[in-house]
Symmetry: C2
Subunit: 200 residues, 2 copies
Amino acid sequence: MPSDQQPAHESDSGLRSRLIDVGVDLVTREGAPALTLREIARRAGVSHGAPRRYFPTHLELLSAIARRGFEELAHRATVAVGDGKAVGPRAQLAALGRGYLEFALGNRGMYELMFRHDLLESGHLGLRDTSLPLFGRLVDLVGQVRPDADARLVAGALWANLHGVAQLWGWGSLQLATGTDDFEPLLRSVLDAHLGQEGE
Amino acid sequence: MPSDQQPAHESDSGLRSRLIDVGVDLVTREGAPALTLREIARRAGVSHGAPRRYFPTHLELLSAIARRGFEELAHRATVAVGDGKAVGPRAQLAALGRGYLEFALGNRGMYELMFRHDLLESGHLGLRDTSLPLFGRLVDLVGQVRPDADARLVAGALWANLHGVAQLWGWGSLQLATGTDDFEPLLRSVLDAHLGQEGE
DNA sequence: TGATTGAGTAGACAGTGTCTACGAGATGCC
DNA sequence: GGCATCTCGTAGACACTGTCTACTCAATCA
């Protein structure tokens, strides 16, 4: 009976995590369409059938790679928010938004992979473990800044706004529309809209 | 094999537009991944090499199909906005936003196709012909509602917000986050955020 | 020692997009 | 009319994809 526990950390030994490493590297360097099952196997130095022992399907391997992206994003968010003692929640939210956009625009291939609907809908991604806690913190911060409003609603709208900006900016539509190459004014506009105007 | 094709002449338009018709129908009914070059040719009753005469590449056929989506979206937007005599710009924007979301959520396959970056980045789509005029109208309306702000910036942020809501709502993330199945409160929150609070 | 099992190999299969050679029907030209 | 040309679609090849299955081969175990 296999102990379907994934061998946590030893990345140097197991093929499983080596495949994920190769995938993360590949998507970062060449974009999401390069994440072919056979190409990943090739770069990991194994035959194209080898991944099947650890990832029964291509989608599951892609999901494991994308999960790395969510972990990285969550980590960045945690760092950006900090402990909140030095600055107020509004500044924390600004840092969070900026971190989100910087991640999305700095890792476009990974971000695209993370939000592929067929990955999201497949259930292999385990979003509840990675994304929902992050959203919970967002709701919490929004609640502090706007105690008058329905925090979940505003947080949802804000998250959608950040996501939309990341996506549209990512392929250049918004630069054209707003006539600038710096997303900072747009980010400020987004934050002002949902959180109320205030000098950061 | 009897070349007993369609009675033909069902559309005076020729194979080119028949391929697009089939594609629109297919993406509406079965989603974007079903838009295989060979499947479209199959359903159009021609061999898999036939489309090549009109669309040198698969991407160009997909772009032509997506352009239909943009035309439909622009049409809906025009209808939703109306002439603006009866209602104010704020109500027009509300109708525009609602129409946008209804289109995106009611035609998920087409919407997904329309915003696949690998299509958008190729110049085949002619976005400037369909999307930019629409955005121009958005900027105009926003300028009327919020004469104090940079209308292009606010319009860009609003557009991104609608796009983000459409996307996240489309695959269920926001229902989970906001705890409801009706996007109307979320839409109102988005409009209030960017345009200022006001009973519609 | 011999059987068993885990891990990776290698080949087949159906499907894909692209490319190329070919054919049949209409059109144009002298 | 006869003949060449041009249009438009066919059909097969090619390299690639993800999945499936039979197989080797070393390590482990009783």
